[in-house]
């Protein structure tokens, strides 16, 4: 898309979400058992936003990830619930990158047309998503496939997913496989998060047999696929946080302009003003960070070196997610008592920013990934 087209996409997304998923609707869904509005999801599918950046052969539009990135940020800005990101961005990304082209050809089109919802299941105890800390484990099965056991935590939208893309670790390495959620060995236990605009769950696997044809990655390429998928997830979280960062600064500025104490608008006091100026800095630097990350995970472009991709994504994930949390805290402080109420929207942004910060790798972990690229270590037996 050209810059002008991208701006138009952003404006359309903003308008659609304002009409179909305004704050009132967001609040209604907080305690909703389903957790999202299937009608809205259907609308977004109709608009072509599931898998814009996926190959045309799969029903996508084959545009740059940067274009889908616009939609992801708008969803964050509107704190929208729903499986678009889990399914059409992260899980779809895993499928698109997999060498199992048959599975890709089977599943991508139904993800794009919205009839199938997919999500990735990989985090282990403590929510970690490194190869060594994956939750599910695998062993070889007789027919050339694998048997999966164990538990994946913080799986987004697991309860409404039809298909799970599972990453599992074993003696020989990491594998990835497609598993039906309806499989008898799979049980989903919802995890209620502070952020009630999204739904997560733990998924238990009890001797789930996966045929060879459902394998997305074998031990020789599993770890690389895992890293790529984690990077797509991390980028999505950073983009969601960027949307939050922007709107929170806008709304806080609006508030402090019209809130009067001591005969003047509180936005004219330097303590408030300077804090917001620092937040503007965070937004502008976050903007370039997420642009870089989106370019780095673009499926259509020539792939970057792993080093360049990791640096771009990990930088953005740590920086932007931290920035959004800082901005939300500053906003709460600037709003004073009113921001502390349930009725005010600040906490919705704050909690979502905190969850983004935690999922698909903590900031600390991602900074270590950057350090590993710019200051590689020859690993000895222990790491301090």
């Amino acid at each position: 898309m050209s810059a002008a087209e991208r701006t138009e996409l952003q404006q359309t997304a903003r308008r659609v979400l304002a009409e179909r998923a305004p704050m009132g609707r967001v609040r209604e869904l907080l305690d909703d058992s389903l957790g999202h509005d299937p009608m809205l999801f259907a609308n977004l599918v109709e608009l072509g936003w599931t898998g814009m950046h996926l190959p045309e052969s799969a029903g996508g539009s084959g545009v740059a990830f940067a274009d889908t990135a616009v939609v992801i940020s708008e969803l964050g800005r509107a704190v929208t619930a729903g499986p678009l990101v889990s399914s059409a961005v992260i899980a779809a990304g895993a499928l698109a990158l997999s060498s199992n082209t048959e599975q890709t050809a089977l599943l991508l089109p139904v993800i794009v047309d919205g009839s199938t919802i997919a999500t990735v299941a990989l985090a282990g105890q403590g929510g970690h998503c490194s190869a060594a800390a994956l939750g599910p484990t695998w062993r070889s099965s007789a027919g050339g496939g694998v048997v999966i056991d164990g538990e994946a935590t913080f799986v987004l939208d697991a309860a409404i997913a039809d298909v799970l893309v599972v990453f599992a670790r074993g003696e020989a390495g990491v594998v990835a496989a497609v598993v039906d959620r309806a499989h008898p060995g799979v049980s989903v236990i919802p995890t209620t998060t502070l952020d009630q605009t999204r739904r997560a769950a733990s998924v238990h696997f009890d001797a789930v047999e996966v045929s060879a044809s459902s394998m997305l990655a074998e031990p020789h390429d599993g770890e690389a696929l895992l890293a790529s998928v984690v990077d797509i997830g991390a980028t999505a979280m950073a983009l969601d946080s960027f949307g939050i960062a922007e709107i929170v600064v806008e709304r806080t500025a609006d508030y402090v302009k019209q809130r009067f104490q001591f005969g003047r608008s509180i936005g004219s006091f330097q303590a408030i003003k300077h804090r917001l100026a620092d937040d503007v800095l965070l937004v502008e630097t976050s903007r370039v960070a997420v642009d870089n990350a989106a370019a780095a995970v673009d499926l259509a472009a020539d792939p970057l070196s792993t080093r360049d991709r990791v640096i771009a994504v990990a930088t953005a994930k740590a920086y932007v997610c931290d920035a959004a949390v800082t901005i939300c805290g500053d906003s709460l402080q600037s709003h004073g008592g009113i921001g502390f109420t349930w009725e005010h929207d600040t906490h919705l942004y704050f909690k979502r920013a905190m969850l983004n910060q935690a999922l698909f790798g903590t900031s600390r972990w991602h900074r270590h990934r950057v350090a590993d690229e710019v200051l590689p270590l020859v690993r000895t037996s222990s790491t301090v």
Binding site: A123, Q125, G126, G127, H128, C129, S130, A132, A133, T153, F154, T191, T192, T193, L194, D195, Q196, F260, Q261, F262, G263, R264, I266, F269, A271, I272, V325, G329, L332, Q333, G336, G337, G339, F340, T341, W342, E343, H344, T346, H347, F350, K351, M354, L355, Q357, A358, L359, G361, T362, S363, R364, W365, T383, V384
Partner: protein, 402 residues
């Protein structure tokens, strides 16, 4: 053995005998009614032991406990993981000092025994348009014969649903400069015309309320201090009581914040499987927080010492307020981030547990009630700049009345 050591031992024993070891689990997810019941029970225990209003004059039911003894008491209660007594915060720490300082003997007789008996009071000061600029409050009290007629709205009134009495600031002279036209009343919360609406806060609790007054009648003998002298009456909350309460809070931060974090983090691992506490960056941060909590305690001890010798808390209280609240916030933010995804799981709160509920993410968000409430930290910094450093106040904008 010194008197202090004896007292320490006595309180410690009492805590062991009285505080249920599982009270946090029992109170997790308590609704408002259960919270109030538990609070009343706890207050009764404290009262029976003479720990409820130990510093009050004997004539009003206290023990005239000295400042250092109070420090020992609150330290030990916190070390014993005592529940935080919230329902009598206003009655004991705000209403009683004002009445003792500015009330007539008749008023003291009327109100103090009830407070000593555990009566719940609320505070009607802040309004939607008078937060930091409290002097701009608009609730109106008009004299009519032997009573005042009150109309207006208050906000952030905690315990308003349970309170029997309210200490209320209302404007009695709209022509006078802002703070010189305000009067201090005791308002019966059961009066006709008083309406209370709870406010749900961002962690889901309803500690605060809005209070609406529609032609509420307050007898003129409920006016505390002179008419239009209410601002000074409200400032009379003794600094010493605040300081002592802060010591208890510092102990809780140490025990339930910092030390709990270190214990919990012992179980946590990094993604590569190594213990979180083996990461030198984590160690540095925790070491820093450890030291800062110790510093807080030392600063508070010094503040209390100064109170003893010089009688007033002065602007030091503002410094401490800033330091404590921001340390609490930083500690909880760090803990929450270190905890990662498991920290994001929604757990029910423990209403009597104060600011450290063992749920770091929740405590981080909740900490803003302290950087905002009790005077925002921005206002506190103004006070420090102006009163400690003698910096000029912001000039009043042209056209704005004092």
């Amino acid at each position: 053995m010194s008197e202090f050591e004896r007292l320490r031992g006595e309180v410690r024993e009492w805590c062991t005998a009285t505080i249920p070891t599982d009270w946090r689990e029992q109170q997790r997810g308590a609704d408002h009614h259960q919270y109030i019941e538990f609070q009343r029970w706890w207050r009764d225990q404290l009262s029976a032991a003479g720990y409820f209003i130990p510093h009050w004059p004997r004539k009003w039911g206290g023990d005239e406990m000295s400042l250092p003894e109070q420090v020992v008491l609150y330290e030990e209660l916190s070390r014993g993981d005592a529940p935080r007594l919230g329902i009598t915060q206003v009655s004991v720490f705000n209403a009683a000092p004002a009445i003792m300082h500015a009330g007539t003997d008749e008023q003291k007789q009327r109100y103090l025994p009830a407070i000593a008996g555990g009566q719940i009071w609320c505070q009607g000061f802040s309004e939607p348009n008078a937060g930091s600029d409290l002097g701009g409050l608009q609730t109106r009290a008009v004299r009519d014969g032997d009573h005042y007629v009150v109309n207006g709205q208050k906000i952030w009134t905690s315990m308003a649903r349970e309170a029997e009495q309210c200490i209320l600031l209302a404007r009695t002279d709209p022509e006078a400069p802002k703070t010189k036209g305000i009067s201090f009343f005791v308002m019966d919360m059961r009066s006709p015309g008083v309406e209370v609406r709870p406010i749900k806060n961002l962690v889901g609790d309803s500690e605060f309320c809005e209070t609406f007054m529609d032609d509420v009648l307050i007898p003129s003998e409920n006016l505390i201090g002179p008419e239009n002298g209410g601002w000074n009456v409200s400032q009379a909350t003794l600094g010493s009581e605040r300081a002592v309460a802060l010591i208890g809070l510092a102990e809780l931060l140490r025990r339930n914040g910092r030390d709990f974090l270190i214990d919990a983090a012992t179980e946590w691992t990094m993604p590569d499987g190594t213990p979180a506490l083996a990461d030198s960056g984590v160690r540095e941060a925790i070491g820093g927080l450890y030291g800062e909590v110790e510093i807080l305690r030392l600063v508070l001890t010094r503040m209390v010492t100064n109170l003893l010798h010089h009688g007033g808390a002065g602007p030091e209280a503002s410094v401490v307020k800033i330091y404590y609240t921001e340390l609490l916030q930083r500690l909880m933010k760090f803990a929450s981030e270190l905890h990662g995804p498991p920290g994001q799981i929604l757990r029910a709160g423990v209403p009597s547990s104060g600011w450290e509920t063992h749920d770091f993410a929740r405590d981080f968000i909740h900490s803003y009630s302290w950087t905002i409430g009790g005077g925002t930290n921005e206002i506190m910094r103004n006070i420090v700049g102006e009163q400690v450093l003698g910096l000029d106040r912001e000039p009043r904008p042209a056209g704005v009345r004092p």
